[in-house]
Symmetry: C2
Subunit: 314 residues, 2 copies
């Protein structure tokens, strides 16, 4: 009888680790540094050692461990092979095979970090109780994850859920980091919102508390100003909301999820953000999908370890 | 050992029926009329009788029959329950339960017709050999189907794959049949292309062979004129291609399919249509997805019976 499962969320500076019960209870979490030097060759051995140490410390019976789930910042295909993770100095890595080998053949599954976060939110967060959801993570960039029938949609090129690169405005002249023009990420990430704000303030005379910030304007400042009734902030958030709400409505036509979960730093703005996005989502969504709930993520930075662990429990 | 499977495709005027081998070979196909009177109460009994007659005629052993797959023009959820099919005069119908009851408990699965067509194309058409695809059907309307891991994505409200109602132009003033404004269907269906053509000709002076057609302009006429070098037709097709190519690029970010299949009457225009759409798809698709093949559907009007049958073979 399997009682325990590990979830490992690999970031560019730290590796978050979690030991879970298979019923979803988080028993313990801890972190180790991510050693990215020498093509990140120490990362997987460090993780294996940390998992083994935890098994020894807790005196767990290997027969009771469902396995280790791991997520990384890069595209991972359905077999658990990563093509590239710039922040880890990794390229073409068979994560499942390597980590399983370091753990004496223990069962391992691997996924992209945004996809794992979506699965975590399904297991224990904003999408708890569902099996089909879209998660969008509004951070420095815009990440996403798609869950269909309780499983991550990894995609043919590991690009499933890469909704930050949906081209929502082909006329946009500034290029996205990906090289395309008009990606959702350019409109709805923290940096995207700051960009919309600077553009708005340069092209309009509306008085605004944001003007005193000059170039240091941030998404948080925009939402803070909105909450204080700032007119310019209100119009900037409308623009952001229309981009994101329309995009979510389009995504809904594709997989018709039970719920849409919004997470990431920008989502700390809270219900006011959901309300704005919902207005345009409901305008544009196909009739049967107009009432699909749009909710805030519930697990914060722990979504990755939850989702990584959940992969082992199909 | 199951050797045979039935695929039934219910349309507003005829029901297409197919008897397949489980290896995908179509042994026989035939049609019966769709009797939509009295809330379409005779449709399922007619189908059951036709299936039983074929079993008797071919002297099939019931133990060798995998079951009956059926698709209908309306939203069907994962349990095989239909909410509404206007063309059949059906509402809130438990298709699986009813048809299985009429067939002495035989295994039955049900799906939306566009979703079944997508699965059929995966089994034996343009997407043969894949397990993840997006199919778009350009007919009077724009239908679609999404296949992930070899299965139809039915969606929480039976609206999975309803990509014809992706809101690609919120500024559009004309309303779609669904009540929204700016649906892909208004730009990329046969009627949508005719609409774009009329608008273009009204707003531009470009000489064109299409002008002599007046209001009877059709999508086929536009593509025919394009093939003859008509400049206006070329610009109309560019507009259609940009709408559809951009939309497919957005859908690709969601599930990252192995292949995109284009079917329906409009797709009879052939490779010239694919080439136009691909140009804008490649402009807007996320880098790892730019080379995703876009191909013509291979099964024509038989896609439905193939996909309906394929549902039983998971």
């Amino acid at each position: 009888m399997e009682k325990y499962v590990f979830g490992i969320d690999v970031g560019g500076t730290t590796v978050k680790c979690g030991l879970f019960q298979t019923d979803g209870a988080l028993l313990e979490k801890w972190e180790i540094p991510t050693r990215t030097e020498n093509s990140g060759e120490a990362i997987l051995p460090d993780i294996a050692e940390s998992v083994k140490a935890k098994i020894a410390e807790k005196q767990l019976d290997p027969a009771e461990i469902a396995g280790v789930g791991i997520d990384v910042p890069g595209p991972v295909n359905e077999e658990g092979v990563l093509s590239i993770a710039v922040n880890l100095n990794w390229k073409d890595k068979d994560i499942v095979k390597e980590l399983s080998g370091l753990l004496d053949g223990m069962r391992v599954k691997a996924a992209n970090d945004a996809n794992a976060a979506a699965l975590g939110e399904m297991w224990a967060g904003g999408g708890k109780g569902t099996r089909n959801l879209i998660m969008v993570t509004l951070g420095t960039g815009v990440g996403g994850g798609i869950i269909v029938d309780g499983k991550i949609v990894a995609g043919a090129h590991g690009a499933g859920g890469e909704i930050g690169h949906a081209c929502v405005d082909p006329e946009e002249e500034t290029a996205c980091n990906c090289g395309n023009h008009g990606c959702l990420e350019q409109m709805a990430s923290a940096t995207g919102i700051a960009r919309l704000a600077k553009k708005y303030l340069a092209n309009n005379d509306t008085p605004s508390s944001l003007r005193s910030r000059g170039d240091s304007i941030s998404a948080k400042a925009v939402f803070d100003a909105l909450k204080e009734g700032d007119q310019a902030a209100s119009e900037i958030v409308e623009e952001f909301s229309e981009y994101l709400g329309n995009a979510l409505a389009i995504f809904s036509c594709v997989i018709d999820p039970e719920v849409i979960v919004i997470g990431g730093g920008v989502s700390k703005a809270g219900q006011i953000l959901i309300d704005g996005v919902k207005k345009y989502y409901q305008r544009d969504a196909f009739v049967p999908c107009k009432e699909t709930p749009i909710v805030l993520a519930g697990l914060g930075n722990d979504a990755g370890i939850y989702g990584a662990a959940r992969m082992l429990l199909d």
